[in-house]
Symmetry: C2
Subunit: 200 residues, 2 copies
Amino acid sequence: MGRPPLDLTTDEIVEAACAIFLESGMDAVSMRTVSAQLGVSPEPLYKRIGNKEALLDAMAKRLLVDVAPRPRSGEHWQKYAMRWTAALHDRLSTTPDVRLVIGERREPFVEASRPLAEQLQAAGFTSDAAVQACRLLIWATMGFVVVEAGRHRAPTREQRGGLPGGNPTGISSAEARRLFRLNLKFILDGLARHNGLSAE
Amino acid sequence: MGRPPLDLTTDEIVEAACAIFLESGMDAVSMRTVSAQLGVSPEPLYKRIGNKEALLDAMAKRLLVDVAPRPRSGEHWQKYAMRWTAALHDRLSTTPDVRLVIGERREPFVEASRPLAEQLQAAGFTSDAAVQACRLLIWATMGFVVVEAGRHRAPTREQRGGLPGGNPTGISSAEARRLFRLNLKFILDGLARHNGLSAE
DNA sequence: ACCTGAACACCGTTCAAGT
DNA sequence: ACCTGAACACCGTTCAAGT
């Protein structure tokens, strides 16, 4: 029919895609569903954002853009690192699908870890040590989220052929969260020792 | 044409799928490409393995089935935990696509961690503590692999809008491996302290 | 019983054609 | 300049029809 120019911005596209993602999950996000949501044919999306990979990149970026909490004045570095990690953990845990954020999409994490790296350097970490600490905390969080995400799936076939009496490495959601905090403690204590800094 | 019965086993299907996966990557694995590889129409695959999700489950299982190394007699628990984790790390790092192994596919890890859990219990861990230790090591490895996998991608758009002089949290592959070992040390030391056991 | 081939409802992506 | 609609080459999955 030839609609008038839409002033369709990249932001509007990403927003529509995120809306579909949050409401209906990752598999519901397609160039076609997003363009339909915007009342447009798929082609304009390719004009603005290139392709689906770029759209997913932009969605991951938006999902994580404001995840880092603001440091409080006088806050101990371990305390801030715990808050930062908890914020990342919560954000990723409440995301419908971790696949959005894995693979080759590291830039959003780099952005998110900037305030943490600054805070650590202010506490006496060298630049390199601060970067390493950020990495360790991101790995810990991603590992947890990737392994523990989506434990609510319909049981499939044989389920397990092992011993009776409960899954040998199965733990509850609450236990997993406690274990995650223990992991954090190991890392933060290790970092303090390794960098010759005081623990809280 | 009506070929004679194929005696097409589930194993043959999974093997063909893995061959395609190893050679051409995850996106090349489809019910159609796998069936074509076997010289069959797609329908028999659905008869044997159900659907694509079940095929991916079986592929992940096969990928990890023999990953746990055999414990050596008299080997210290920390030493075996390090070998076990290194084996998992190597297996996942040489896998063309980590997506195969994330999401809701935890059963292969449960199987792989059985020898480790036994070894830890033999060293004095309670059953619960052994399970927790397995979890921590799996998280650490998965976090590393998921974040650091595929760092060889063509640079896309703006790449970064930050400061000049190198990516603030960018580290080389060799540095990443060193950092992974440091992470392991933090966890193993923490486990030793937390469970009142001797470090090596 | 087991396989084939066509079919259905989707994808990502491109491109001539319209306004 | 920007959008539409059709098209191409794929998907996962199902099912009547053949042997």
